[in-house]
Symmetry: D2
Subunit: 350 residues, 4 copies
């Protein structure tokens, strides 16, 4: 049974920062479960909310408990909640979907027309407890490290993007190797890609990409990435691009390095509309661009689980830091510095 | 047997215009066929070459005989030329491909890395005679109207675009109903689309779109097309967009009217890089963008033939004008006026 | 509000026949709805249960109310039942799925590992009232003929089968034109197939197939169907087969008439294992066989609705008979005679 | 330049066996190349021809030089032969296609309607020299072991089968691990399958399967394979079956072990029509059966090359024996014994 009150990291006002406050522990309604949070990792989106940028200012309505990537123990079931049991160690699918719109009724809940996101549109995971619909709880094997269970949600983004087109025997570039790009690098390698090339501006990240399985890396701060990709693919060009940067320049350079007929899976969100040479770079080359968001429910989760349980992908090197939940400010600074992959907050302390 | 000399419309110098000149009749080399041109239709690309815009100035090297959409009678076979016989009435696939690059060897000749286009990169079809590889000659049924046979090539663009994603039971918009958009309208209707909406700025074209099977039309010069498309689809949004305009604004408005998960097939070439709200309009909505170019060889031709032979699609209303080859200047003016669908030049005179 | 008792057609014992009995009106549990049945059509499966063949004897556990294809008015909502309202005219998806197995959680509920079927595994629709999960109720437009609404379920089988592979510009044969085959014939025609050929042994059915849009018909009781299909396709062979007969001989003949690379969608259930020349007819020809069951939830329903609302498909000619619910015995005899398409039972009388 | 006469293994009469005879060295016609054979491996089909079974008696017309899997040096180009040069070390695509039928003109040459197979329908590779169309010659990297180059053709069968459906994160069984099954095992492992299970009756083959990357093996001569596959997949069933055995019983058992919605790629040719429980095993489960033949030209070759050049797949353990061409009889006995993977004949002697 959960205690009456809990600690939570709350965006209390429409301004930068967040407060660690005491809140009433939520109760699960019909079809919901109460989860005692054991680990919650930080995502770029959390930093947008924390720093209160334009996007956050337009989307978030304080007060709201921050955070979405998490894992914990199920401690209470609401009426009619099925598919999960008290005591289960669960990861959380952070998109709460309506269940009745066209995408939801056709196996495409990841593009629900009325999605509500934890830590953005409703109270999230940077807290001792969290309530979510039972169907959003993904049961992990007993004994899984909660930190590893927490990062299954961003891993799902990587799986969704990487598996959007066949990679086996293809020349693949991952553009932007933040945590999700690093995960995608490992997946592409596990998928039997002929070649996995990571492109980024950060030496720290590129070094990690090599550790995660990149066959080659390109430091776009030091050389022209189109030229480098052409050289690395022996002038044949890329078959697949996994775009994780959201950068206009990086996308243009990647498109220029694509072979005719290539597929570009787009996950990275540009902060504003960007310029694309659609005629020469996309249409004349017969390129396919795939907009990717969220995780296929729950196709993506099954595939991600399979990749890890079989040992084809190992995410543990990506958990670079663990901090107590109360040190969220330090965690945000660390994230901003760029010298971290996944930072995990531990509600009870490390 | 062909005569020694012939008349041809030639871009003789790097400047606007074209000359009707007498040229030596070409001879078919190994694997080629000589075609007596019976009809040649005019494409927007021909007008670019004629008007000598930036694109043309960078691509075309005069002197070159203009034109690519055509049909005619095979009059001579080069050595080893197969699959076609003297006397056949053939349409011409205007992309001459290398046959040995990766796309060519994997069933994707339409994105050949070394394609040479008739009337642009090599002598074309606005002439009494034309030489092409035998494999580029598509045999039509005896008795086919040569004008109809000539417009099979742009029809192939429409077929390629419209069949890139299933249309049956889907809400489809065709953005830009020039000749290829009009053809795509007819195909979408034949394909069992739930709804086919044509969007354009020209009343003439929208009227033709209705004739070709559009369930509704939107005059984007008079109303906001996003709003109109939302209203026409009862707020559900579009499932499929066939983009034929190449316009930044039109594409943005169509994307805004898309339902989550929609597919946008892009054929219209923007004259320059364009701005796209990739984050909100594509990625967050899970949209797929398909760059389409040329015609699948020869999948597209087989499908197009089937659509017409079965009577599902009738292109004859689109042949609005027939002029003698020598009146190419008048034809270009007519095209520029916008009050024409397909204009067909007849070498021997109408 | 529903009355206390109701009339129902019940398989009361493990033997041929069924009894019209008075039963207690069911009450909707959590997430369920109570429907007042306005029309219920008869399916071949109902006849199997009625006649008590081997399959029925192994699967059905009396007593059970028969019937599954139906439409009616929602009269009561169980707790938490959403997406539907009292007064709605609904059709019923007859597969009650578990919601937690792998297929259910990955957008493939139609192949749920623990499916329970109305009228077979649980009480069905040949009754004044019926209880189903709210998510199984598909809301129709006000004013829809309940008989038409009732046959949406078998229409869904036809839509699922016909849309399993692209038909536009393809040569398609429908093998077996019972009601679902007739529906598939209409869909194939609406889908822009180059040619739709119906094959059956019954002159009555073949005549109806022509009415539903078949371009040609083959009476396999009077000529070799392989030969006929080859002749009708001008020796090119079939691109697509929609197999609705479950007959070993019919399937073999259809496979023999397939072009290399064809797709065969299999819906008809053979009563026992059948012999197939897998080597020559499937493997060497690069044929794809698709096992089809149920309806995609609810992709199939959306597509079917679109086809009808747009007027591309009209099912009304298929409703050949309407009888009072109490005349179920006569209806079964009529079905067995073969001289009927869809027979609809009306609980309150015709 | 090639010498006037050469040695060849020829099926001289319609009876078992083959003779090593002296034949005139062939000359390359237009578009053809002459290859000096450096290595030729033996396939089960060769044994059918050698042993003169029913299939061979109906298909092969003696005299014909046997053999198709081979590699060699290009020594002469016929007129117009392109894409390859004298001195190149080439593997041979053994399906000689017509180039003008519907499959050939739509990127599906592997199912050409008029295919002629080397060593079956025309003179083959068990000889000092061989003539093939230039487009059938696949250029390898300099220094490739000719024996390895020779087995690229059966490897292509494995690649075509294994890549017919996504394997990443799926539970895969390879049924029948002769040479092609062993290759498919290695590919499935490289493709990131969650689990690769090999099923066979031979301990020798199962031991090799483990060496090639199988996670588990099932000896179907010692245990029920359905039960074993269910147990190994923890009751979830198989996602994908790669069927290489052509055995009725093995296919039935594999289908019974499939999860709903599974895909079964069929390459193994049953010697006669077989019985399949299409209703329960395929239709009700929503299974897809893919008939696979030959190699996609040349998509399959590109993918196979990529898998090896990148080191994801290593075929060298499969070359278990090398014999002089003249010892073809011993080689056939060895093949029949089952204690060999690939046996390679060397024209000049080992």
């Amino acid at each position: 049974m959960a205690v009456e009150t809990m600690q939570a990291v709350v965006k209390t006002a429409a301004q930068p920062g967040a407060a660690v406050v005491t809140r009433q522990t939520p109760r699960p309604g019909p079809g919901q479960v109460l989860i005692r949070v054991l680990a919650a990792s930080i995502c770029g989106t959390d930093h947008h909310v924390y720093a209160w940028d334009d996007w956050a200012a337009h989307r978030v309505r304080p007060p709201v408990t921050m955070g979405h990537e998490c894992a914990g123990e199920v401690v209470e079931l609401g009426s009619g909640a099925g598919g999960v049991q008290v005591g289960d160690l669960v990861s959380v699918e952070t998109h709460v979907t309506c269940g009745v719109c066209y995408p939801c009724r056709t196996g495409q809940e990841h593009i629900c027309e009325k999605v509500s996101i934890l830590g953005v549109d409703q109270d999230g995971a940077f807290a001792d407890y969290l309530v979510v619909p039972a169907k959003n709880a993904w049961v992990n094997a007993k004994g899984t490290d909660p930190a590893l269970a927490a990062i299954q949600e961003p891993f799902g983004n990587a799986v969704h993007t990487a598996l959007a087109t066949p990679l086996i025997g293809r020349r693949v570039a991952v553009i932007g190797v933040g945590p999700i790009g690093l995960m995608a690098t490992a997946i592409a390698r596990a998928a039997g890609a002929e070649q996995v090339v990571a492109v980024d501006l950060s030496a720290y990240r590129l070094e990690m990409a090599q550790r995660m399985g990149a066959d080659a890396v390109v430091d776009a701060s030091r050389e022209d990435s189109t030229e480098a990709l052409r050289r690395l693919t022996k002038s044949r060009g890329l078959d697949v691009v996994l775009e994780m940067s959201g950068s206009e320049r990086a996308l243009d350079q990647a498109l220029a390095a694509c072979a005719n007929g290539a597929t570009v899976a787009l996950l990275g969100l540009p902060p504003a509309p960007i310029r694309i040479d659609l005629g020469n770079r996309v249409i004349m080359k017969g390129i396919t661009l795939l907009g990717i968001t969220g995780r296929r429910m729950f196709e993506t989760w099954y595939r991600g689980q399979a990749l890890q349980a079989s040992g084809r992908v190992d995410l543990t090197p990506l958990i670079t830091h663990r901090l107590p939940l109360t040190e969220v400010a330090q965690a945000m600074d660390l994230l901003a510095s760029g010298d971290a992959a996944k930072i995990v907050l531990i509600p009870g302390g490390v």
